[in-house]
Amino acid sequence: MRARVAKARAVYDDWQVALGQLRAALPTCRVAMRSADCAGGARERRAAQHDAGRRAAAAAGMDLTGMSCLAGRGADGAPEWPNGLCGSISHCGGCSVAMVGALAHWSGLGIDIEQHLNTDIAAEIAPVALTQSEQDEFGCDPLQVALAFSAKESLFKALNPLIKKRFDFDAAELCWAGGCEPQLRLVYDLSPEWSAGRTIQPILIPCRAGVLTAVALSA
């Protein structure tokens, strides 16, 4: 029991390094993380994750607005934000993170955290999560697969509420402009405004606990 708590604490602390980098990259947003009790069966763990996510959102919203901020839950399970705010929530193991911003600054915000992938899982999900172009470029490199997967999760969370349309992992691909700047390039038209070839710059932060990605779409 004590070892499990210590490990959870260490993972939580590892994430804080990445959260610090995200806060520096997006100073007008607020980001908070809360721990979930991962004891019990699958349903209990999921309920604890959900609760931790809402507590993280409340903390981030309070930090941004100075007022109580409770995110609701839509029919699809996605959070519903109070008027004037946008954001997203992500869960990974015993940690839940929320990012909140003002609609005056941002039209959509997406955040995602994932554990590091091992080589077997990376090889298994690469053919489904990555486009052919990404597979040609990244192969099954676990870090690149995790970053591409997570960045697309963040893109979905940021863009789906805007265009009110679901889209799959083949809708965008991660590429490195000039070899160093990450970009998500839309592969096909999602809406008149979000058409094939449009690029979005994601924030990619690998850390000891896993990978953290975010997509922030300006208002």
Binding site: G41, R43, R46, D120, E124, R166, D168
Partner: protein, 88 residues
Amino acid sequence: MTKDMNVTVTTTEAINFDWLEARVATLIEDEGPIDPGESLIFYGLDSLRVMKLAGELKEHGITVSFEDLAKDPTLNAWSALIDARKGG
């Protein structure tokens, strides 16, 4: 957690409801019963695990996208989807 996700299947296995139920039980890391009509999101099935299942099915020659699975994440819906894709 990662260790449990590493359980692999062989291509000789029959892909049917029992296989699906067993794979999902492994992915959500719970030995309790799963209501086949209830959203697997409530059992903690996250995007990565849905993607992993899509990858496993692809290895078995059954192509379903993440979105195919995500839009109705229940055992009943996935079983029907898999049956339809096997026939296709």
